[in-house]
Subunit: 239 residues, 2 copies
């Protein structure tokens, strides 16, 4: 399939590499491809410069957000950070029309952006905006009524999402939520191709509230397990 991945951060790279490995034609979108390629320093999360990563991953085409989305057949993965996603996606709405848009972002507001930071044992505890009575997934769907937004991937590190068998032989649960059943089926098939066997359909997109709010629990569990896990664990819904 022709699949677009919007974003060049760590999570987007995980999906890009995996999709190429699975034989898909992958179009990566970035705000300004020339600027992305011109960077020679690691990004703020410590990821290597994208140009360097791209040299190690042949078969990936780097384009603008809009050109990448337009090049996609059916599936677009949104790896734009939660803070900027609505604005960036609204600008390319036409290219996303009728397509399955997978959103895995948590709408974190970081302490350095906040008037009143929230000290915690982790040092940094972002807050969520929106939260509780709305979600980023729903906001994106409202901003792009012609796209089919599916919230998924968000309860895991993306390196685990693309390689579920690395944790507990893969016997853990992935969640999907959307108001579009056909798009949910498409994402379920993609997840199966990643190796997921336990994919739970939570129902409509309103469930992205719980999925995004789970982010604090995910952090707490990672903290409880200790650094040696590096966030690499799963949650299994036990019936």
């Amino acid at each position: 399939m022709k699949i677009a991945v919007l974003g060049t951060g760590g999570g987007a790279r995980e999906h890009t590499a995996k999709l190429v490995e699975l034989g898909h034609e992958v179009f990566v979108g970035t705000r300004d491809p020339e600027a992305t390629l011109a960077r020679t320093e690691p990004d703020m999360m410590g990821n290597a410069p994208y140009g360097q990563w791209l040299a190690d991953h042949p078969g990936v085409t780097l384009l603008s957000f809009g050109d990448a989305a337009a090049a996609a057949g059916e599936v677009v993965i949104n790896g734009i950070d939660g803070h900027n996603a609505v604005a960036a996606l609204t600008g390319i709405a036409t290219s996303l029309s009728g397509k399955t848009l997978i959103d895995y972002a948590v709408p974190f507001v970081y302490q350095h952006e906040a008037e009143h930071p929230w000290p915690t044992p982790w040092g940094v505890m972002p807050k969520l905006d929106p939260c509780d009575t709305d979600s980023l997934g729903e906001r994106i769907q409202r901003a792009l009524p012609e796209a089919k937004v599916v919230k998924s991937f968000v309860t895991q590190e993306q390196s685990t999402v693309v390689n579920p068998k690395a944790v507990g032989d893969g016997d853990h649960t992935m969640f999907v939520a959307s108001d579009h059943d056909d798009a949910k089926r498409t994402v379920t098939e993609l997840l199966q191709s990643y190796g997921w066997t336990d994919i739970l359909d939570l129902g409509p997109l309103v469930c992205s509230r719980g999925m995004e709010m789970y982010a604090h629990m995910h952090s707490a569990i990672g903290f409880g397990l200790g650094q040696q896990f590096g966030g690499h664990f799963g949650v299994k819904v036990v019936r």
Copy 2:
């Protein structure tokens, strides 16, 4: 042990019955014992009148909140609903001083209490207050600096908390968080006596934010699994 359970709702009844079964001396606290016993109608959750329940559960002593807390040796379980917990507990702070106070409440604000309700596929979707940058667990600890608050039980139906083996042979995870390590050990032992084998210490009480916010995910998973599960499932942290 002499244990107090504050509250007469469904969850409080589960703990009360289980603790009696385990041989503890249980003191149940209610706002007004006479009024509680005078009720002849089911409560708003459909539970049978407490007097009737009490007749079927000999060995339980019904007292006021303060008298029940004072009668407890080391452990008090707070089953007062999240909306009223801080006020009710603050009024009996002296009787809780130095004791382990287990809080499992979710600070739900229900639609009928709200100016702007939040329609969802469930019909009712309560919001959380506090949420994200504070939690009920932390509020209770701030209001009762002499008590040792432990947040736990909150990620499960209380009928599952007292009987973990009813779900997936008991191989799922229970979480504890507290700023008091000795109190956390006490709660861990209590959970072991309930049958829990996988108890994950998330760390300090700030983690109750994630535990309480998980409530929406718990609802969504229950919705996804379907009514036949009636909320009876577990989550296993897969390492």
